[in-house]
Symmetry: C2
Subunit: 566 residues, 2 copies
């Protein structure tokens, strides 16, 4: 189902993993066979209508009653209504529900509970449960995102997932394991989001670049045939940086996943040394990749002219399918501020002379005072410029925080007053990582000289385009000279021309099938126009020459109008 989510997708991607990850061994033995044999179908109910990314703010309660050895699940306010979980509205019968745990009158924070909401025979909502679909959306037509309210619904004590903490029969609360373990899962999920974002952007680039090689427009030279729109510099300038961005985030998602798998053993063994760094980076990468994809898909769509607006292009569907990633699994700006929080800590440690790990080690380095980017656009000089920029902006944001606090602002207020700059420095850090990782990834292709050369051009374009879009950051303090900046424009245009002959091959290399793209404009064979007409003719509105609505509404309306004007 290209660009559609399964109506039971949450069962396998969230419900089962939540039980597998947070259930005790005994709970896993009980519930997983039920899930895997589809005896029960579940979803994951975290978000509430009034509470999203700030998980601590959730209001649903799970209050332990030692008399009956049950939890009472309740939605105490309107804003505590569970909202958005996929497949919750009409499909599933169980959910892993996140709620504030209360025992003996004391709140122990957010915990997960398995709660049944529909009858296993009749599929009707259980007593005390209000459940339904949240209504039409921009996309996700195949997903019944739902709402759910509990009115003092009782579940057995055993339905609390107890791997990391436990409530005993008599109501004592016991914390069993380090919560940081769950950070590892978040890194893994985010790496998947980054890769999916790169893939979605790649799909949009494939459609737009292929179509731009088919579409002809205007006159470049009087009397000559209309050129392919891909030969226009402005069209190249819209599309090729996006192509480079798709490759860049593809490599980034892959590296993040590999790094996570590398250190998974350490994490499981309770060694969390490298986790904060990776966790912070994954937050920023999730945000930057989904933002870039969000904007990029629409740029691709608009680059196809009016036809991009038709579902024949396939692009609107890719967009509505991709855009939720900007807000789900952690709203992007909040994610950027998570990255910034880690950078502020790292910056403080560097100031104290401590050595920093992996991705932030460059904060320890002094770096060069002057930008070394020359005519050869050496990858080392580009990375070094991005490191300089990130280092400067991170240091500046830290100074800003300090200045606010010295003026007597509490840390939280200072944080808010510096947050635009904090997001900005986190962007610089993530872009720096993505570029560095792109450069490192090319090395793997060193033995394919031609491949490495073309990837190097893409990488240079990614870097140069980023410099031009953030020129102030690079000029500031005299790091990059005015001549160097002018040269960046010249280099950008050279790179567009250099990439042009390989552009179609670079999207074909993604190897997306026509079935996946669902795009008449982006067909592999390029036979766009005849298929546009076929596609249009097959539209349901064309089943009859004169549509029923004409007899029903239009004809009487026109007659009425005619009479009234006489």
């Amino acid at each position: 189902m290209p660009h559609e989510s399964s109506p039971i997708g949450l069962h396998t991607t969230m419900f089962i993993p939540a039980i597998a990850g947070q259930g005790s061994d005994k709970q896993r033995r009980k519930w997983l066979p039920l899930c895997e044999s589809y005896r029960i179908v579940g979803t994951y109910a975290q978000t509430e209508v009034g509470h999203g990314t700030f998980v601590r703010g959730l209001e649903t309660t799970a209050t332990y009653d030692p008399q009956t050895e049950q939890f009472i699940i309740n939605s105490p306010t309107l804003t505590s209504t569970k909202w958005w979980p996929g497949n919750l509205g009409k499909t599933t019968n169980h959910a892993v529900v996140l709620a504030q745990l209360y025992t003996g009158g004391k709140c122990h924070g957010i915990h997960a509970f398995i709660v049944q909401h529909r009858d296993m025979e009749t599929h009707q909502p259980l007593p005390g449960v209000e459940v339904g679909d949240i209504g039409p959306k921009f996309g996700y037509e195949a997903v019944d995102n739902g709402f759910l309210r509990y009115h003092n619904v009782r579940i057995p004590r055993d339905n609390m997932l107890m791997r990391y903490s436990e409530v005993t029969k008599d109501g004592r609360y016991i914390r069993k394991a380090n919560e940081k373990l769950t950070y590892g899962t978040m890194v893994f999920v985010r790496s998947a989001i980054v890769s999916t974002a790169a893939k979605n952007l790649g799909e949009a680039c494939t459609i737009a670049i292929r179509y731009s090689a088919v579409r002809r427009q205007s006159e470049m030279k009087p009397g000559e045939p209309e050129p392919q729109v891909l030969d226009y510099q402005t069209q190249q300038h819209k599309l090729f940086p996006l192509l480079a961005t798709s490759y860049a985030y593809w490599f980034a998602g892959r590296s993040m996943r590999e790094t996570y798998l590398d250190i998974q053993g350490q994490i499981m063994a309770g060694d969390f040394k490298r986790l904060p760094e990776l966790h912070a980076l994954s937050a920023g990468l999730k945000a930057m990749s989904t933002w870039a994809t969000n904007e990029g898909i629409e740029t691709c769509r608009l680059s196809c002219g009016g036809h991009g607006y038709s579902h024949a292009s396939g692009l609107p569907k890719i967009y509505v399918d991709a855009t939720p990633a900007c807000t789900y699994e952690g709203e992007n700006t909040v994610m950027m501020l998570q990255t910034a929080r880690y950078l502020m800590k790292a910056c403080g440690q560097a100031a104290q002379g401590n050595e920093l790990p992996g991705f932030v080690a460059y904060l320890n380095q002094k770096g060069v005072d002057r930008c070394m980017i020359g005519d050869d656009l050496s990858l080392v000089s580009l990375v070094s410029a991005y490191q300089h920029r990130a280092r400067r902006l991170i240091g500046k944001a830290a100074l800003q925080m300090k200045a606010h606090m010295e003026r007597g602002q509490p840390q939280e207020v200072a944080w808010n007053l510096a947050s635009v700059q904090l997001v900005h420095c986190a962007k610089a850090h993530v872009q720096c990582y993505v570029l560095k990782n792109f450069v490192d990834s090319i090395e793997q292709y060193g033995h394919h000289e031609d491949v490495a050369r073309v990837l190097t051009q893409l990488c240079q374009l990614f870097a140069v385009d980023g410099i031009l879009n953030n020129a102030g950051d690079f000029l500031q303090g005299g790091f990059m000279s005015y001549d160097q900046l002018d040269n960046m424009t010249a280099k950008l245009l050279d790179l567009l021309a250099a990439i042009r002959p390989n552009a179609v091959a670079l999207v074909d290399a993604f190897d997306f099938s026509d079935h996946l793209l669902q795009s008449v404009l982006g067909r592999y064979d390029g036979n766009v126009y005849e298929n546009m007409l076929e596609w249009a003719k097959s539209s349901p509105l064309n089943d009859t020459q004169v549509h029923d609505s004409y007899y029903q509404y239009m004809q009487p309306f026109l007659k009425e109008m005619h009479k009234s004007k006489l």
Copy 2:
């Protein structure tokens, strides 16, 4: 019908005006009464599946046959199929069709013809006509955008619109009036697009800003209630520049329309002196306003978190309704290059010491060498900085063109090789105009001190945000100092804080009704959550507790899955 187009909208907005504007007096007397009494319903068929903004490239032919005194309308190729005209697919029975006029074997270019495509009684397509709907789209569900192919359809000679040129009975072609007259109409249409873009962005800002005052999230200070998200600096940074942009383009659209009406008399009298300047500006304004709106609506939507994705927000509908303006009535990049073409001419004239008119007069001025923006952010200093930037970029693009031509490139090739820079300088020019016009517009409110003060803050924010987003342009050559740039960031943050208390009032001032906004999130009364739940419950999927699809598909599927896993 908020955010919906009428299924007979093109009849009044395009079909009738085309006949009124391009028909001879005799033709107007014949056709307009038929139109106005809805005896016939028409649309405007310009775009073809293979040809859009480049009107000269249209392939539909109208060949005069003096024997029968008829034109033969034909779609000679697949790519000549008319495509996109609104209301063409199933609703209308006539169209003003743009086609290449041939008489005596000679092509006279694009002309307009009234062609009937459906029977007046049966509404069936006429012989030789293939017509239908082009299929589903991102939005515009109420509009039957259509395709149309003619197989040698004959129409009377009188059906060519003959105000500006004529084909006589014996087939002679006579050009009667200056085509520049039609430029006036284009200016008027574009001013309407600019105003609509400003309005659409204003609607999105209204929803996002109101909701951001209702929504609470996270902790700013430990132990205190969750703050309104509008109190977060990052949220202000997303929304307030867009609010300022909406006001800026609203003023720009209004001024353009007023200027046009001012000089309409001159134009009708054949005095086209001021038209090229206005026409060129209107192209760039159309592009910049629709781009800004396109991006801005989505920023507003994403600033509402997940709920922005629900149709309860109203934002997806505003977006799909607004985004076609980037590609219709002249694709935006082509529009920017039209503006650039005029700027290149103006630049050449200025170099020869000629005085330039109105909006480009600043190209004659030398301006200041150093940016004069100080702590007071005086409007004069801001405008002067924008003029400096535009002047420098326009001059640079002209030099670039010249350099390519001196290297032996033909002008058209040089144009393409400089086009990224040409678009860039046109952006700078349009932004300069919009800022200057914003400043001038505030003067009209001088007698309302409070209003003028708040508008001045918005105007300063518009200017400062634009400087920060294009910092390289302002630093280049040492015009703005590094300290001045740092100060821009500080000023931006001050302005966000200053605008915060008035933000809700500034969107309320647009006076959009709840009916128009169709947004649960953006309700005037702020009662979001209770209405979200009501809205969701009224969704068709919730008509029954258990949806039919469950019995039909899900239950059998789950049983099957269960069996197969046993």
